[in-house]
């Protein structure tokens, strides 16, 4: 098992290298000249050229890439063109709200979606099933920001149960922290809940036809045990896959959600950096999320071996 995980980590290295190359190429592919942006509107061509040399933008592509990669491997993501602060420090400052939002969304989604999918499969064809699936289609077709504004209007403005927007650090206590995250997590998770509920239902429907489910019933096991232990564990592989893929959805959705709920996270930082053409910051964030995604995929693969002993490692 340990050797499997090590091998998998090693195999992600080439992927990360290619990702790094792409991220670095952003600077060349994207329109606009960073040196000109930094220099400002009043700068003379000589000023721009000086800044270009200062940043090393005049050197050959591969040399620039090598230097950049070398720094990253030493934990140096560069310096923001706009604020002059180290990129790693800027990311560190914004990482907690975003990761909190993603974690809560993920937990909430799984806790809601999987039982819904199991219930729909168990009662397939009944009104329970039809209601859950109708909800899934509905949730699937609404964009994040619409759900976000509706939730904020109903639960924050009308009922005043939860704050409208903002973020409280975890250090201030779990409840204040959670309070600010429930609505954004629901908004961000609604599409995701619909998706996972549908996959869970489909996967469970197939498993419930299997002979071993009949065996479990013949043994006198209770319905809950049959559904959540005997069947769900067999149905888990596609569900885990979709949960993994969904984390990519979350990254994109987090940017929008943070804007709707005024959460000072990485999403806001990304938008600001893009608007300012602050390339080092953009690169740092994209690299971080790519790394996160590769890590999630690794976790998904390891989870497969935990739920299904037939999958070899």
């Amino acid at each position: 098992m340990v050797s499997y995980i090590l091998r998998r980590i090693l195999s992600t290295l080439p992927v990360m290298g290619i990702v790094a190359l792409f991220v670095f190429s952003l600077l060349y592919i994207a329109p606009g000249d960073p040196a000109a942006v930094i220099a400002g509107d009043q700068a003379s061509p000589a000023d721009v050229e000086r800044i270009r040399q200062g940043l090393g933008l005049d050197r050959p592509f591969l040399v620039q890439f090598g230097t950049w990669l070398w720094h990253i491997l030493h934990g140096d993501l560069g310096t923001s063109i706009f604020t002059n602060l180290p990129v790693s420090a800027m990311i560190a400052q914004r990482i907690e709200p975003t990761f909190s939002l993603m974690a809560i969304t993920l937990v909430l989604t799984i806790l809601v979606a999987v039982p819904l999918g199991v219930a729909a499969a168990w009662k397939a064809g009944s009104w329970v099933d039809r209601t859950i699936m109708a909800f899934a289609v509905f949730a699937f077709s609404l964009p994040v920001f619409v759900v976000g504004y509706v939730l904020a209007y109903v639960f924050a403005l009308q009922f005043e149960w939860l704050p409208v927007q903002g973020y409280t650090p975890l250090a201030a206590g779990i409840w204040p922290w959670l309070q600010n995250l429930i609505l954004p997590a629901l908004a961000l998770g609604s599409v995701y809940i619909a998706l996972i509920a549908r996959i869970t239902r489909a996967s469970m429907l197939e498993v419930l036809q299997q002979d071993y489910v009949r065996t479990a019933r013949a043994k006198g096991l209770g319905q809950r045990n049959i559904l959540f232990v005997h069947a769900l564990k067999n149905a888990a592989v596609p569900i885990v896959t979709v949960i993994g893929i969904g984390i990519a959805l979350l990254i994109g959705g987090a940017v929008v959600t943070e804007s709707v709920f005024a959460i000072p996270g990485l999403g806001r930082l990304t938008i600001d950096a893009i608007l300012r053409r602050d390339y080092p910051v953009i690169q740092g964030i994209v690299l971080l999320f790519s790394f996160l995604y590769v890590l999630v995929n690794l976790m998904v693969d390891v989870t497969y071996t935990l739920v299904d002993p037939r999958i070899r490692y």
């Binding site: 002979d211 065996t215 013949a218 043994k219 006198g220 067999n234 037939r310």
Partner: protein
Amino acid sequence: MALLEVDNLQTHFRTPEGINRAVDGVSFHVDEGETLAIVGESGCGKSVTSMSLMRLIAEPPGRIAGSIRFQGKELLQLSEREMRAIRGNDISMIFQEPMTSLNPVLTVGRQIGETLRMHQGLDKQGAEARAIEMLTLVGIPEPVRRVREYPHQLSGGMRQRVMIAMALACNPKLLIADEPTTALDVTIQAQILQLMLGLKRRVGAAIVLITHDLGVVAEIAERVMVMYAGRKVEEAPVTELFRSPRHPYTQGLLGAVPKLGSSLTGAARRLAEIPGQVPSLKGRIEGCVFAGRCSLATDLCRQVAPGLEEKGPRHIAACHYARKEAAAA
């Protein structure tokens, strides 16, 4: 008193094309410690009968009517919770497909142990110890290692042994075995049958054996019930049935079994076969269910369903002409 008394069992399924009468008015009993075989072609209602005994038929679309009394208790009137306490504990079941009847993602020990934990209130260690004991009993080598293994690590014969261990773990009064050896190699079949018989004597369980394999019937059954198109057509002690089958369908079944050396006696004869197919069970069948395929059938057979009549000692059959036929043979 009989251990199991089934009276006028009717298991019908609602389908878009009408009601499917998979089991239509079957009555039989099983005494304590007895082995009853239920035989018949595919689709004659054997498996549905066995599933009905455990109330494992999905309702709807299925519907079970009649009476199933187990140790004097009417199973059809029990709540689902009371029924669960009986399944796997007093009545347990072995299925045809050992390759797919075990859960692939749970260890063998867990699957044997969970019935014990649930019905006998054993703790985790106790259940595992008993699971190892059961694996030893069904002849699985290295039970201490095997108990932690998954079904895919075992061969088909081993898996059927695990199924048997699982079914017998709680010392049931009645074991229902639905084609337990059909999916196995011939060499393994005999071993599994011997194992079932040995363990049955040990725990004193009665067996209802569902099969279409008359060789298996001859080997282990004491009494045989022949089913056709959802009805019982004949029932007799095993030697009596093989010696003088009364119902034309039973005679046909026995005639379709190849006999060793028959082709050496000169003319290589074609095996006798029963022409035609099992009739559709959608819609009520008038007259004898076998009339459409029976060479002796007359207008009487096509109009009036024969009742089950005493044709010999403890021997009953549902045929208007059975006695005459037996005398002629």
